[in-house]
């Protein structure tokens, strides 16, 4: 007997966990669950392990103080050996964890794994999704830069809209009257102690349930889940054609986790750490705050919702979504598991993916944000100025000086908040142009007070020249009729 075996036996005589551990590892699982579709849960756990390790490493040097956090991140990036790499691993690990958790959720949903008797496993999974999102948001705050600062402002503004409790919630969220040192300290406590504590507890519960109830079998079209018979059928399945989890199924988990870790390392090395961006100084207002990518969909939604609907949808929408997710296994706890016989489930996933994808794409592009420097930075294309009268050129100047370009593009340059002006003369007549400029409307401020009549005349004269060469500008047919000339 080797020394190692002796030492191992000495410990196990006292701990007595060897036998139950071996039994758990070798427990039979349905043959077809040794599949590349069943690797996402373990991969999420692996990445969480990476997050814990890199998080502890970062906490060694990070300073959770509003006055020092940004400097400590700069120090980690530039002065500490491999500091940038640990930050990059933690940042990319967070992105991968969120992605894998979502893929895992979709897979579990499409495979009907939430059905009887695994309802609680699904609900704990929802809690894990929430805690993972909580880690993402609090982590973004700890990268204490301009985006984090104004992101907190956005969070506070949303929280303030809760009826009655709004202002109270804001103070509790910020730890004081403004975003400051106390805010960062409490987000540090949340990100490092509270949320990870919950996450570890939920992961433990999730795993315990998976072991107690067994992994979901591969869904077969026509194999119906019934509360009365399912447990016996599953037992039969694992006993008759089951394979031991270790090593028959686990090798795919291990290989996939390895590839995921490799991908995170590759991203960290090639693309580096995230930020920090500009200093979190509230007096630097030359900034365009932008959340991290997992909240881009929300950022987009906040821009497109009608103002009056925003608060109710923001506050009630997530609650309804959560209730639906939690209630899912109770109103659909039996029946078909296979996605091939569940068209509504497949369509739901597609709809959610397309909506989230489209909103995320818009959130990356932010067409609703004015380009704050376009008026002074983007020239007017010279073909719009050639051969123009002095009045029209003066109008072009008015267009630039009154910041119209911040919201309106010319030749693809400028803001996209309002429509591009390249062909505006084809769409609006002179009178309509004057009305739109003076009165505004349709998301445009009224410029009546801010433009002199001469400036308005010049601006509209210039706008009337903006039409494609072969297309005549729009005109008011009634005018010609009144003047008695044929149109």
């Amino acid at each position: 007997m080797s020394v190692l075996t002796k030492i191992g036996r000495w410990f196990d005589d006292r701990l007595q966990i060897g036998k139950p551990l071996m039994e758990t590892m070798a427990h039979p699982v349905p043959r077809q669950t040794s599949s590349w579709f069943y690797v996402f849960g373990s991969a999420a756990l692996t990445v969480f392990g990476l997050q814990v390790v890199t998080g502890i490493l970062l906490a060694i040097l990070y300073v959770p103080s509003a006055g020092e956090a940004w400097n400590s991140l700069q120090m980690l990036n530039h002065q500490v050996a491999a500091g940038w790499f640990i930050r990059a691993l933690h940042g990319w690990g967070s992105n991968f964890m969120l992605g894998i958790v979502l893929i895992h959720m979709v897979q579990v949903f499409l495979f009907g794994a939430y059905k009887f008797p695994r309802e609680l496993t699904w609900i704990v999974g929802i809690l894990l999704l929430l805690t993972t999102l909580g880690m993402a948001f609090t982590g973004q705050v700890l990268r204490f830069d301009q985006d984090a600062y104004w992101g907190l402002g956005i969070g506070a503004s949303i929280a303030s809209r809760v009826p009655l409790m709004g202002p109270t919630l804001v103070k509790l969220l910020l730890g004081g009257p403004i975003i400051a040192g106390a805010t960062l300290s409490r987000f540090f406590a949340l990100h490092v102690f509270v949320v990870p504590g919950l996450l570890i507890a939920f992961v433990g519960l999730h795993l315990l349930l998976v072991i107690k109830l067994g992994i979901n079998e591969w869904p077969m079209p026509g194999r119906i889940v019934r509360r009365a018979t399912y447990l016996a059928e599953y037992h039969e399945l694992t006993q008759r054609e089951g394979i031991p989890f270790v090593p028959a199924a686990v090798w795919k988990d291990i290989v996939f986790s390895g590839f995921v870790l490799l991908a995170i390392v590759a991203c960290a090395v090639l693309l580096g750490p995230f930020g920090p961006g500009g200093q979190p100084d509230p007096t630097i207002i030359q900034t365009s705050p932008h959340p991290d990518f997992f909240f881009w969909w929300l950022y987009a939604l906040l821009s497109f919702l009608p103002p009056a609907a925003e608060t109710p949808i923001l506050l009630i929408g997530p609650a309804i979504g959560l209730v639906v997710l939690i209630a899912l296994p109770f109103f659909s706890g039996e029946g078909e598991k296979s996605w091939k016989r569940r068209p509504i489930a497949v369509l739901t996933v597609l709809l959610a993916a397309v909506s989230l994808g489209a909103l995320t794409h818009l959130g990356a592009h932010t067409p609703w944000s004015p380009q704050m420097d376009a008026w002074s930075g983007e020239p007017i294309p010279d073909r719009y100025l050639k051969g123009r009268t002095a009045l029209e050129r003066h109008g072009a100047l008015v267009l630039q000086l009154k910041q119209c370009r911040n919201c309106h593009a010319l030749d693809g340059a400028g803001g996209e908040r309002g429509p591009a002006l390249d062909g505006i003369a084809v769409r609006l007549t002179q009178d309509q142009l004057i009305r739109q400029v003076v009165q505004g409307g349709g998301n445009m401020p009224a410029y009546g007070k801010n433009l002199s009549p001469a400036e308005t005349t010049a601006l509209v004269a210039f706008l009337e020249t903006l039409h494609p060469a072969g297309q005549a500008p729009a005109r008011d047919a009634s005018r010609a009729a009144i003047a008695g000339t044929p149109p």
Partner: protein, 181 residues
């Protein structure tokens, strides 16, 4: 063995022990909850909302809107730059002023003043406001947050304290400066 209907001495002591721990738990919970709610009780302390100088009135010429900063009255050593707050000061006609919080009334992003077009614009979702802070366009449901001001000894003072948020209407001073006529 005690009979099931008669509580045993051990059973009694178990319950008494649990009760004792429960009482201690409740007693301990009081300071813990007070500690957790300290951000709320703080506003009852003096100096929470107070008048802060923005400097000489001469820095704010009549008819113009200027950027100003002040140190928040409630400040802690670890706050660093975050306790320096920005605002926009509009001198309407040399006698009347308006002080706007820099935070957009939609989601709190910092609005920028464009004197050429007399508009405040927000970089986040494109909210726009007129020179007097009234909503011009975009997602905000209201005008800019206005802070109370006073002029003492040639200096402009602003009432400062907490970050304005769209839901906290009750705590905001949306009062317009009265016309001196």
């Amino acid at each position: 063995m005690s009979s099931p209907e008669r509580p045993s001495r051990r059973g009694f002591f178990l319950k008494a022990g649990l009760l004792l721990n429960g009482i201690v738990g409740v007693v301990l919970a009081v300071p813990v909850v007070r500690y957790l709610l300290s951000p709320l009780s703080r506003e009852r302390k003096p100096g929470y909302r107070s008048w802060v100088s923005l400097g000489s009135v001469a820095n704010f010429p009549a008819g113009e809107t200027r950027f100003a900063t002040y140190r928040n009255p409630v400040v802690r050593p670890s706050d660093g730059e975050t306790a320096t707050i920005a605002c926009w000061v509009r001198n309407i006609d040399g006698a009347r002023f308006q002080v706007f919080a820099v935070n957009c009334a939609h989601l709190g992003c910092p609005v920028r003043w464009f004197p050429q077009s007399n508009l405040f614009m927000c970089p986040c979702h494109g909210g726009a406001y007129y020179a007097d802070g009234a909503r011009a366009s975009g997602p905000p449901e209201r005008g800019l947050f206005e802070q109370r001001y006073k002029i003492e000894g040639g200096s402009l003072f602003v009432e400062a304290g907490d970050m304005p948020t769209p839901g906290a209407l009750a705590t905001l001073s949306v009062r317009r400066p009265s016309c001196p006529s």
